[in-house]
Symmetry: C2
Subunit: 225 residues, 2 copies
């Protein structure tokens, strides 16, 4: 191969690596948006803060756009670079991860909408407010782990996300039982809203686990090569 | 190019087309499973049929496996064939569509689980039973359109799926209002279950719309070429 051909090959590879790095940076930015969305949605839900709820709802469009942009980048890489082995798994995983992050943003917007719709009535029923505070904290922590996992690919975080899902599931069931046995002082409307919120909180952690599993697939495939 | 090379090129292309056809057949099979799952889950929910609910729950694993198999096929095609243009969009769309179908199967299993858990108590509250019957019918019809759309790529079906989502949304809101205003004769447990079921029915149609949008992307990209 001539020197010119070698240089050309080298720079093609460099462009490719830069494109993969751009995709990763994009995913981290989306994850940052999701962490904020869950944190603010939880606060809006607990304190009936309508302005904060509106912020979450309008920021969700930005998360959707950023996730769609990542999809465009990954399709471009598939088209122009025909990646193989770990690079191909990375690109395929990225599509799945961006889709999970986008859903997490939607769920945060749904929680914010509950707070907004019921204002000035508080959406979180008094007997379960502490449970919802805990669920919010758990889900913010899961989203923070996801954000770090995308950046570092640290397999310990991956295990932590999967392990933390048990606590989230247990809390979800407790709230479900609590809601199913409230007395007649709690209006049906509040039972309906809190049932939905409880479902949305559960789904945050499910998506975090799905992302962790995609990262494991990325790592284990690499180990098998 | 020698005759041998031309023959070889031709057969590589044939193998590729066969692989794409296999992926489509796989998707149709998963869609068939989903149509059945939604139909049976709705019936189990309306009639508290525990045996039918169990069938839906155990069949969900088969749907999950079939969807995972499609993912393996698509990754193999990306790796070995480096598809471009419409073929690449088809493969990427397939991954998204299989993931939506898999979620529709999960939601059917969730509805079946509600029927199973509350047996012998009926899970569908009497004042809203007719609404749930209608929601079930709407969702089975959406799933049937999706199944046909995957097979025929008929753009009229695509429009019908998107248009039908409005009726589904309206019904979802009606049930939500109905549940929020039930009197104290309806136990909280039933309000909780029906709120979840209503959410699951809403999500069926959302996924059908997501699949229709993926098919539109496939068609419009092709038109732009």
């Amino acid at each position: 191969m001539s020197n010119i051909a070698i240089k050309w090959e080298f720079s093609v590879r460099e462009v490719f690596q830069q494109e993969l790095a751009n995709i990763q940076t994009g995913l981290i930015e989306v994850a940052d948006g999701v962490v904020n969305a869950i944190r603010n949605a939880t606060r809006a839900f607990q304190t009936s803060d309508v302005a904060l709820a509106d912020e979450v709802i309008s920021n969700d469009m930005k998360i959707d756009e950023a996730a769609a942009h990542i999809d465009d980048l990954t399709i471009e890489v598939l088209l122009l670079q025909s990646p193989v082995a770990r690079d191909l798994r990375f690109v395929v995983s990225t599509m799945r991860i961006s889709s999970s992050l986008e859903r997490m943003g939607d769920l945060a917007a749904h929680i914010a909408q509950l707070a907004r719709m019921r204002f000035p009535v508080e959406v979180s029923p008094e007997p379960l407010r502490e449970h919802f505070r805990e669920a919010g904290e758990l889900c913010v922590a899961q989203a923070e782990r996801v954000r770090k996992l995308i950046e570092t690919e640290d397999s310990q975080l991956l295990d932590e996300i999967i392990a933390s899902d048990d606590a989230n599931d247990a809390l979800h069931k407790e709230v479900l039982n609590g809601l199913s046995t409230v007395d007649e002082t709690v209006p049906a409307e509040q039972v309906v809203d809190a049932t939905l919120a409880n479902r949305y909180f559960e789904r945050f952690s499910d998506h975090a686990v799905a992302i962790a599993r995609r990262m494991r697939y990325l790592q284990e495939g690499a180990a098998a090569e």
